[in-house]
Symmetry: C2
């Protein structure tokens, strides 16, 4: 009798009375049945923030030739259907779309949507502006895009709008950094869709589809994250995709009409749930009811799910179906108090979807877009800092710029896996964002220097190909330089000029500055699409830039016959060409023109560098064997790539501050190897013009740095610009790797860095954009630079990754900074350079009618937002205006635990003693994404193997906080603004 | 100042304040602006009741391989979007879908939908169960399907659910009969989408897109109908199809997002409206915003139309856009008091969509489906009559049967233009309907004869190919015969038997009945799929069947050695074979086996008949020139068809009541030419087995009856089984026909009849199903019987019309009744035979264990629902149960004005004196579709050329009504039911 009654109660509760209007969001979960397998049906739509269409085309539903969906209509439809039956649930992820939609709702609809959210019927997951990629975005951009999305949700919907679960169900591999960030953002769990096919199989067998991931044990429990891998990617079970664009049959239950199919449908569902159930520990299964851009016709999902629940629950003895959300699922699973396996020191890279489909090509795909994203992020960080000076006058522009960066972090954005026209749109957005940022630069400078400060400022975005009309065509121009780093720094500034003039460069204090004048390489001069009269680049060193600080330079064309600063080619008759700044010496073999050794501190190491080509697999993807290399997939047809050339023509230039060897490998491939006077870093600035296509084979171009480091199959790549991840060739931590793609399966993403180590030294490469990299042989680092492919890899984009411009293959120029260091100093050199690379000083250029003297009279001032520079291991990750009289501050310890004796230790910082412009009267510590006070955070607790629930995070005391290695702390500063002219 | 104010008022009224909640449906029209062109935007969806998918697949959204739509979701989505903004409007047409959807709504949603309807925001147009074809349905079935739909709307939604406008925007040509019916149903206007391309062009030039159509002036104003031809079929203007399945761009108006396109969109809309405007007289334009199965994502329409209205009205000086409905449009146009052209004595057949695309193939396409629909309608009319006897016990079954017939009337149903699987589904529905009807037959017979009356009754649907296990395999069986005609009639009954037995047939009064036993033709015996041991057919004449009456026969196998009733072939050595019943004599040429003359009343007329083949155009429809013959299009490649054979093998059989010549033209083509003893009609029962395909050319088979009628290019086809329409070869009434398809453009639909006339005589062919026909030469009638085509004609169905069964081309058997009469008698013969063909007596067959004597003892009774038979010119078109104690009665005058001296005159009928079983205490005259009291009807008045607003319809006085020729009158009878056993 009891059982019958119980069943009756459940029947009622789940099918008819699950929910009463007015329930608060946190209490809206439908009850589970402890005696049955609880099937949590989660209606969701996966709305790529750009992919086959641009974000706005997806939002509006335009450009249907590429995809028919319109997110505005999806949301319209979903909320209409949620209104119709209170048992229904829906989850939404991408704030980029929700914001767009919210922008256009009228007040009634807003009220209605708020009710749905407050009642827990519409729930946000994740909440970032987009579901970012995990391999290619820089951590700063990821944190920013999460913050942007969550801030929108928080400020619009309050606590019920705060997601408690993250949802990275489409990205192509998963990083430790992302997991840690999500933990620090306060998420209770992270759901993943794509993990390696062998990993997936092993985890299903081991019932380890759900584990506690602890990427950095030094963080204590704050860095632990419950991770759930979905059974079936993020799609509905076979036969149950009820979308208007799916072909599965609906549930047809009216016997008056033809097509009645209840029996068949229920059977098919039960069969699949048996398989799902075998892979998970808890008697709860999360079943995703949705897919890409589903719910255009929300009724087609909800009506059928209503029926599925009704008929299955009334018939099945083992299953209890319920509308659910991931947070409800997580609560249900958590309440069972099971003990979970632990995943430590490991991430989910690379991702192989089958034995010949390693998604390691996208680590490099679209290198120019990746670079633009990286540089725009650099400018954005500077912009946000500067914007704190000028009040909220340009908050729209700041928001515009943030949005541009945020959408670009999408997993088909910076990843390079979108269609060409979509990549173009990201670029347009980024350019618009940069231009919006420029307004803030100008306004700040006018605020600080006075209203007459030049307002026709330019970043000179094409300076990397030595094209810039401001510096080429003007007799007088000024450079205003902003240093977004929290320490004092010197940096080279480079700009193109015409050889026909002589130049003088003045610091704003009136002192002249030495510079070098270097001929522009022939391969640059002939770049298609370059429109410039410049023949030379000027390079000078801007010294001692103040932290978060501003300085300026005045440049004038002079008629004085200066001793020509231009470097001339040095010819010698030795078999060796030597490039040296006194601290480091590079030797090039004159016969083949290639680097052969590096000498530093009296030690000489063999060091060889050259460029190689992998020929890409062709094919039409009929099966795994015929997979082509494409935007996602890297699939070379040989293990050993072929050198582009065994020799390079070389020229060398010795200047005052800069020493260069120019190498030309072919008509389309050249490189400058460069060292600066006061540095031991080596720059390799490569230029890849149109990759030639012969016999219709795609080409993937790599550079290899070959050393004598005894690396023992091991190398390290950074996780989104932060922690080092240890990689071992041909090995995975969780399962025995089957070697089916010997090269591609050894590729890993590097956002900024890759290195090799042995007992004495480290060779590190710091990139200017994310790239794929590996070490196929001990002592060797290999980085993929560019890809030109002629076949699609059948992952949906339906375009070969054949970027072109001006009728030719797209040109790419980039720089690797290579460091060769004793182990003891390598981490310092690397960390400081990596953060400098991301927060590089940003110059703006403007022509001026001021004479030199007027300029110096008026503008001989430098500024710093800081009272003093911070210690080198502490970085101001974020400084931005939050709202009126509130700033958001993130401080970051940039060293990893134990990596350096001098810097990798806890640091105390008194926040109140940092800023010059703002009086801080209150400080509140927030979670990482700034959407909750840290002390209000209550994450679910999990039992897991090797558990060590220490809370090692310090609390703020009188404005002072302790930062542990790799720790990021987020603060809301309540300020009284001081006079900006201070 | 006044103008500015006026503009301001309109701006407010149209864009912001058009409507206040609580408005009654009839007052819900948005205001028009007299100073502008008013653009009535009409959101609609055209939901075929079967076409590429079955009606249920369309309803549910299943079988998406053929089409992705689901009407349930369309309606869900539309009502959700209507809720969101009160200015929005939507119109819905097909009750078959609305009923399905209504079946599944919960009470809340029903209430919400009722409110939308009551407030005029959701409006029904047309309201029939489907939007019927106009060429092929019988008028009885059209009236029934309209009645079914409108009854559902009326009983569910009351007065606001009554459509005031009809909407035949997709059917492929338009008949006079339909127009008259709509006028008599009380519609204020009829909208058409497809009229001949030359007609359309001419009407645009003449501003005659809107006219008053007066198909039958003898009806007076009751038969006038305002007709509006849409500009652009029924689709949205180019670039403004906002459906999720359209590729037009949405309106993008947020400058924060990429894609802003307001200027371009408004310009494009205005340009098109200029063209539209030039074609219409009133400063009002109806713009259809929708198409086939649009509004799956209703938001994508409404949001964009909202924007279109908002931005156009705020910018345009000439246009005033408003949400509207056809009824609002009609009111606006009517209020202008313009004078319209008149269209008289003419219809809109045939329809040529371009110079090589005459939609005249579908008049014949799928002849077996057409036959099944025709026969099922016959049974349904009988069923409805019988059901009045048994109360409401089987109202579900009756409804099921009505629904089956109703969906089959769809313009891709009986028209034959649906996909094969859909045709199959109509057939299944019809069979289910027939079976449901059978239950009513059985119940009625049990009610009348007693509970022991056999309940295993069968119609013997395969008797037309001489297959029927009841009559083949049983020693004793009974036939119960129902006569649905309102006059006494005799009719032949035919059923297959085994030659090995001898049979005796008894009337229930115990008298024996003479019969003939005729060998089954060889071409029938070898039909694929025929499973029968029968070798012969028995034919007997069931005499003097009572009106709306029942009688029965007992058949037993006997061992008596009867004089064999079987006919034997008559051989003679003359060159002529003569078939004669004394009244009429047919002569066949023995050499070629073909009919050569008919002799009647002492006069001999040459009369030749043979079968011919048109070879069908092939092609892939790249343009008009490469149009293929297909399900819709008839496009022969020659003007003169080729005879299947110049000779026929013949056998003749002379019996007691029946005289036959069996002709075999080929392996696959045969015919029986038959006369009955007491008749002067000639039956041509043709059998087309699998049409052979050689060299992959489609074949269209016609029969030609060649006479000496001096027809002067003129012939007549019936309009849906009623009025004769005069057709003149190579001529159109409204415009100069360009002869581009000399055969196809001369084809016209005949539902039951086609004839030729000269000054003295008429040759009439009465068919057993709709067919296409023409007269390509004077004196000749040509009817298309069957089509086997190998190419699709690109009108959407994407299947060649190649019907197959058992691995071969589909077999078809059918009958033409040919009458040759003096002009004075031809109409009587034709009218009576035509109505008899549609309301043919329906036999059911059952085996019985009763012995003959028991049978006669128990069941020697006949019944009639009538007190007496009605005059032959008056027909009980409808007798059916309406609701408790209410019957629906339609009386029809079956003669056309002036066609016959004796019958084509007004007839008085006292309704109270018709029925035996029901006491009538109240009679209410209704509009034709029975959804409004006649006296409450207030149609809009129009001014038009040659106007003559006489109301010639009589009123009911003391139960007596006067019926004018061709008039149908509809009554609700309030009854006290008498004892059925009376």
């Amino acid at each position: 009798m009891i059982n019958v009654l119980k069943l009756f109660v459940y029947f009622l509760s789940c099918t008819f009375l699950p929910y009463s209007k007015g329930t608060k969001c946190g209490e809206a979960c439908h009850r589970t049945d402890p005696d049955k397998i609880n099937i949590h049906l989660v209606p969701h739509t996966h709305d790529d923030v750009g992919w086959l269409k641009t974000v706005d085309q997806y939002y509006y539903g335009s450009n249907k030739g590429h995809a028919p969906f319109g997110v505005q209509y999806i949301l319209d439809s979903v909320v209409s259907e949620l209104q119709k039956n209170t048992i229904r649930r829906f989850v939404y992820v991408e704030s980029a779309y929700f914001w767009r939609w919210w922008e256009e709702l009228d007040e009634n609809d807003k009220e209605m949507v708020k009710n749905l959210i407050n009642e827990g019927r519409l729930e946000f997951l994740h909440g970032g502006w987009c579901m970012s990629d995990e391999a290619t975005p820089h951590y700063t951009a990821m944190i920013d895009q999460m913050t942007l999305g969550l801030k929108f949700l928080n400020s619009t919907f309050g606590e019920c709008g705060r997601p408690s679960v993250s949802w990275q169900i489409d990205p192509f591999g998963h990083s430790s950094e992302v997991a840690i960030e999500f933990a620090e953002m306060g998420f209770d769990a992270l759901f993943l869709g794509r993990i390696d096919h062998e990993d997936h199989k092993a985890r299903k067998n081991d019932k380890n589809m759900e584990v506690v991931w602890r990427p950095d044990p030094t963080l204590g429990e704050a860095g632990d994250l419950f991770v759930s891998v979905l059974y079936n990617l993020y799609t509905a079970p076979a036969g149950f995709c009820f979308d208007t664009y799916c072909s599965d049959e609906p549930i047809m239950d009216n016997k008056k009409f033809h097509g009645y199919n209840i029996d068949e449908k229920i059977k098919k569902f039960e069969d699949q749930m048996e398989q799902y159930g075998a892979a998970y520990k808890a008697k709860n299964i999360l079943v995703t009811m949705g897919s890409d851009f589903t719910y255009s016709v929300a009724a087609s999902w909800f009506k059928n799910i209503d029926k599925l629940i009704k008929y299955t629950n009334s018939r099945s003895k083992t299953l209890n179906l319920l509308y659910s959300t991931p947070s409800c699922y997580v609560k249900a699973v958590n309440s069972l108090n099971l003990t979970w396996s632990t995943k430590e020191d490991d991430d989910f890279f690379p991702y192989g979807s089958d034995e010949h489909s390693y998604w390691t090509g996208y680590f490099t795909s679209r290198p120019t877009l990746k670079y633009m994203v990286y540089k725009a992020n650099n400018i954005l960080q500077a912009t946000k800092q500067l914007a704190t000076v000028i009040g909220n006058k340009f908050e729209d522009e700041e928001f515009e710029f943030k949005r541009a960066l945020a959408i670009a972090q999408h997993h088909d954005g910076v990843s390079g896996t979108e269609k060409q026209h979509v990549a173009d749109d990201y670029a347009v957005y980024l350019e618009e964002g940069i231009n919006a940022g420029k307004k803030i630069f100008i306004e700040t400078y006018k605020t600080l220097y006075g209203v007459d400060y030049p307002d026709d400022q330019h970043f000179g975005n094409l300076r990397n190909i030595s094209q810039f009309n401001i510096t080429e065509d003007n007799q007088n121009f000024v450079i205003t330089l902003y240093n977004p780093l929290s320490r004092i720094i010197s940096t080279p500034i480079k700009f193109p000029v015409q050889q026909s003039f002589h130049y003088k460069i003045y610091h704003c204090n009136g002192t002249t500055v030495e510079y070098d004048l270097i001929p522009i390489s022939a391969n640059v001069l002939k770049l298609p699409g370059r429109h410039s009269n410049a023949t030379h680049d000027i390079i000078f060193i801007a010294k001692d830039l103040p932290p978060l600080g501003i300085t300026n330079y005045y440049i004038q064309v002079t008629t004085e016959n200066l001793s020509n600063a231009a470097l001339t080619a040095v010819s010698n008759n030795n078999s060796i060409i030597t490039l040296s700044n006194g601290n480091i010496t590079l030797e090039f073999n004159k016969t083949d023109g290639l680097l052969q050794s590096v000498t530093k501190n009296g030690k000489t190491w063999p060091f060889y560098q050259n460029f190689y080509i992998y020929n890409a697999a062709k094919g039409y993807n009929y099966n795994a064997d015929t997979r082509a290399s494409g935007a996602y997939i890297f699939r070379p047809i040989e293990i050993d790539p072929k050198p582009v050339s065994l020799t390079a023509n070389i020229t060398q230039y010795h200047g005052i501050n800069v020493f260069e060897v120019h190498q030309t490998f072919s008509e389309w491939l050249s490189q400058i190897v460069r060292i600066y006077k006061d540095s031991v870093d080596i720059e390799f600035e490569w230029l890849i013009d149109s990759i030639p296509i012969t016999d219709w084979t795609g080409i993937e171009l790599v550079t290899r740095y070959t050393t004598d480091v005894n690396s023992n199959s091991t190398f390290y790549t950074d996780s989104n610009g932060r922690r080092w991840m240890k990689r071992i060739r041909n090995k995975r931590k969780y399962w025995n790797l089957t070697i089916t793609e010997p090269v591609a399966s050894n590729y890993y993403p590097l956002t900024t860095s890759i290195c090799l180590r042995d007992n004495t030294k480290q060779v590190t490469v710091i990139t200017d954009r994310p790239e794929g990299g590996t070490s196929m042989h001990d002592g060797e680092l290999e980085l993929m630079l560019h890809r030109r492919l002629l076949y699609d890899d059948d992952k949906g984009v339906v375009e070969p990754l054949d970027e072109t411009a001006f009728g030719k293959g797209l040109s790419v120029r980039g720089t690797h900074i290579v460091q060769i260091n004793e182990l003891t100093t390598s981490d310092v050199e690397h960390r400081l350079k990596a953060v400098e690379s991301a927060y590089h000083p940003v110059p703006v250029f403007a022509k001026t009618l001021f004479h030199l003297n007027e300029w110096i009279t008026n503008y001989n001032r430098t500024f710093s937002l800081l009272l003093k520079e911070l210690p080198p291991n502490i970085h101001i990750l974020t400084l931005e205006r939050w709202q009126k009289n509130q700033l958001l501050l993130r401080l970051e310890h940039i060293f990893q635990a134990n990596e350096n004796r001098d810097y990798a230790h806890p640091v105390d910082i008194n926040i109140k003693e940092i800023f010059k412009f703002f009086g801080i009267y209150k400080i509140q510590e927030l979670t990482l994404a700034a959407n909750l006070e840290k002390e209000k955070l209550k994450r679910l607790k999990w039992n897991f193997e090797r558990q060590n629930n220490t809370s090692i995070s310090s609390k703020l005391i009188n404005g002072t906080i302790t930062l542990l290695p790799m720790q990021i702390k987020t603060f809301l500063l309540f300020i009284e603004e001081k006079d900006a002219q201070n």
